[in-house]
């Protein structure tokens, strides 16, 4: 499942997409993110799945543009910590 967390508003699309078929719930993203955006737990959107999965924490979903801003400078941007840490390549950002 492609889980899109975030929102769209007048200034753009701000979604973090997690491919839950690729995610193995290892939690590398949780420790990699400087702003603690990710949590790992039971998949709330697939109650019959047994394996844990990564998701964007409830409190960050409505303000991702701002929460993620420190990792997205205008220039000299290095790879995003969460994306780089994810071995199964399950995380992507829409902006």
């Amino acid at each position: 499942m492609i889980a899109n967390y975030g929102y769209k508003n007048g200034s753009g699309d701000f979604f973090i997409a997690i491919d839950t078929d690729k995610c193995d719930g290892c939690g590398d993203c949780v420790s990699a993110c400087p702003n603690n955006v990710f949590v790992v737990g039971e998949d709330p959107n697939d109650p019959l799945r047994d394996e844990p999965v990564a998701m964007v924490g409830e409190e960050h979903r409505k303000k991702l543009k701002y929460t993620c801003a420190p990792c997205k400078p205008d220039r000299d941007r290095s790879a995003l910590a969460c994306v780089a840490a994810c071995k199964p390549l399950a995380i992507s950002h829409s902006w």
Partner: protein
Amino acid sequence: MTDKKEFWRWKEYRWHDETMDWKNADIISTGVDIGSVSSQAVILVDGKLYAFSNQRTGSDSPESANQAINWAMENTGMTLDDIHYSVGTGYGRVNVPFADKAITEIACHARGGNFMYGPSVRTILDMGGQDCKAIRCDEKGKVEAFLMNDKCAAGTGRGMEVFADLLSVPIEEVGELSLSVEEEPEPVSSTCVVFAKSEASALLREGWPKHKVLAAYCAAMAHRIVTLLERIDVQRDFAITGGIAKNSGVVKRLEKELGLEALKSTYDSQIAGALGGALFARALETKRRKS
């Protein structure tokens, strides 16, 4: 002073199948969907729809959940003790006191939509009271991709209620009335309820008739949803759940913009979430008995 008529107020109601006997049932499962605006309870007897209720959510989620389930059980002789498994869903899902499990409305709408519209459904758009969800699912109603916009009430049922009130048009009649325009007006420039309302006031002052203002708002709402849908790749068949599915003014314009027709169902579009919850409850009870 006479009482002010509440144009936004939609009809609350309940239903149960009087021909069905639940007393010898193997599994009685329920789903309770506590949304931001409306709450539903659905009772399934061995996987068949037995009863449901649909009402406004009060300020107290646990109380709304109790009211919803009690209303659905009214005159059926059923009590909470007869129910084997309950699932809570919607905004208030963690506040359903009798629920065995809370499941997100995304999973529930996919499952409920699959039951209501059949296995051919691939894209479900849930247009709720205060948010909008786009869900892509497989033939079993399992979620393949989802997207939720819950940042504001723009383009949702609550916004439509505000407009019904502003224009003194009963909410059930908004859709049809908006379709009675001879020529489609330019959509209002913002779907933000607050901005759209002030824009609409200005249009009224300019002399726009009600149906034209409603058409401009319904069109703006439809357009906003279409841009949201772009992210999840709409596939056939397409269905709409939630309260806005009952507003032909939005549905028709959405269909036109997408170039796709939404499936029709004999079920009430507002119960999709609770129905999905009840279907999960049945599956989870079966799983529990096996282990």
